[in-house]
Symmetry: C2
Subunit: 352 residues, 2 copies
């Protein structure tokens, strides 16, 4: 019975096309697919018996399984993987879809901190899956601008704009009462001192300023808060993971019971794993798929992610991608993720 058991990578062209057919069929129907259905719906030019033989081969190669004796075949994670490597990588988005996506981005070009959200929204609706995106975040952020706004004489709002586009707002309690005038003066000093600097440089610059006079003390006090805020920003591995299209995932029959679904949501909150994942693709510029059990954590075992990073490796990078059941339309997902990440690249390069 061990006829044409091959290592994946050297598969009969015919076997390959049948694997492909099984996957396409299964992705659509969500039910195990049998030999008869295959010959009927795909013009294979062979009988169901032959298909059965090949299916058996694919199974012993580990690319397909059997839920039980008298059921059709279901792709394994390895099957999807083979499919993704051999076929889906080259998938390109249709010009129509490209245009539609471009158009959607055009609508909100003025709100840069919303781009990544939009990317997730677009990916979710284009694939009818969930999608995630993070804002572009640098390893070590550079301060672009510091501003201080008086709230009352004892309280001020400190606003830090980063070169990479992000923004932080922090309330600062003032040791001494101060008017907006004083705050403005302090802000100008801090701005001159810290603009273009990272946390480390900003702190060093701050030590060179003497804390004399009311303004000097104010500068020191607020400056320390600036440094802390920048540090804090740097330290967060992922600043924020925005997700959209969760309702789409809920439609999938594999998640018809809530406990299955819960794991997907738990997965999204597993920031440490997502962080590692993002780390591993950051700057590669490639679209990568993480299929089912390839994901370490238990709760990720029946979802797949298709991710790509965007931004400039040296500077700020973020991640966009799609999250759905293992039974996912990978070519479509890979195509859209690649395109959207490319678009994000264009966008961030404009504000760099």
């Amino acid at each position: 019975m061990t006829r044409r058991v091959r290592t994946p990578g050297s598969l009969d062209p015919r076997a390959q096309s049948i694997l492909r057919a099984v996957i396409e069929e299964y992705v659509e129907s969500a039910t195990p697919v049998g030999s008869a259905a295959l010959v009927q719906r795909y013009r294979l030019g062979v009988s169901s018996a032959t298909v059965r033989n090949i299916l058996a081969d694919l199974e012993s190669a580990g690319l397909l399984t059997h839920p039980h004796t008298s059921a059709g075949r279901v792709p394994t994670d390895a099957g999807y993987r083979y499919f993704v490597e051999s076929v889906a990588e080259t998938s390109i988005l249709s010009p129509v879809e490209q245009l539609m996506i471009r158009h959607q981005f055009g609508q909100v070009q003025h709100a840069s901190e919303q781009w990544f959200r939009l990317a997730a929204t677009i990916l979710a609706s284009a694939n009818r899956t969930a999608a995630i995106a993070t804002p572009a975040k640098p390893r070590a952020a550079h301060v672009r601008r510091i501003d201080l706004v008086s709230i009352n004489e004892r309280l001020a709002s400190l606003i830090i704009v980063f070169r990479e586009g992000a923004l932080r707002q922090v309330l600062v309690n003032l040791n001494e009462p101060a008017e907006q005038e004083d705050l403005t003066r302090a802000a100008v000093i801090l701005d001159g001192l810290m603009a273009g600097r990272t946390a480390v440089d900003a702190e060093r610059a701050l030590t060179r300023i003497e804390a004399v006079g009311p303004i000097g003390a104010l500068v020191q006090h607020v400056g320390a808060r600036v440094v802390a805020a920048v540090r804090d920003y740097d330290a967060s591995a992922i600043e924020e993971v925005f997700s959209d299209g969760l309702l789409n995932v809920m439609e999938a029959p594999e998640f018809d019971r809530s406990d299955k679904l819960r794991r997907v949501f738990a997965a999204l909150e597993n920031r440490s794993y997502l962080g590692r994942l993002f780390e591993s693709i950051a700057g590669t510029g490639r679209v990568q798929a993480f299929i089912g059990a390839e994901n370490g954590p238990e709760e990720m075992r029946d979802v797949s992610l298709v991710l790509a990073s965007y931004g400039e490796p040296g500077r700020a990078v973020g991640v966009v991608g799609v999250l759905g059941p293992t039974r996912m339309a990978y070519p479509q997902a890979i195509g859209t993720v690649r395109f959207v990440s490319g678009l994000m690249n264009e966008l961030v390069s404009h504000i760099a």
Copy 2:
């Protein structure tokens, strides 16, 4: 059999305490509760037969139902309503819980735009339900500060700080190349012109400036964007609805099937209904419960919301609250929501 059918509002004290017992029991067990279980677990001092009679009365008063002949009783929406009105309104949080919540707020006092998120997180974990919160948003926002940061000579980042604490960042394409120097000058002019103003006032002020010289044109151009951004902010009925604790809701047995659960999530995305709800409680200062079918939309029929507004009616108001299955621990929910909204009041009054 129509013995003591009363209009809700005038209920036997004994009947009342039995209704209460049914609700408490059902909230805990999620299964229909029978007469035997009641006499056993609550010291009622009467036999199960008596309890049965009273249960029948409560049922004909519309406060309880029967899933089927041989099942125990389940509260109706009207039953919960009666319970909430008569008993739960007075519920107060234990000092320990108060302290714990206060403590959690203390941890992040410096990030004012995160308060509402924290409120939702705290409510979710305190009640083991989902929770929602919106940032405080004014009807007509006042500009507090305008800032312009150069990105390149053709592109600038416009930052608007509102008196109410919110922040907006908008990219502005420049018609003429401009250095940071020019931008700073323009920002100072706009700041002087618009600080303390609403959208309408800001626009009027802008017309009094002549668009002469490079700076004049720049001020006009950016000023128009400021007005548009403020208008845009004003127009959004709800700026953002943050939700947390969705995983808690997924634990509830009534949502064990994903299609049930989907309606909850869909409910959260029904911004128009939430908007109306928020509208109706804004500024009342009271905690209000919306129980099951009291909610209009189909998808809300088996969830309840316990909401309260915070902030100052004349100025900015936001909403915090809890969202869970109709089978909810209302006293606890009402207690925590009341307390948290009070806390939010304190917090925003500091930065007003």
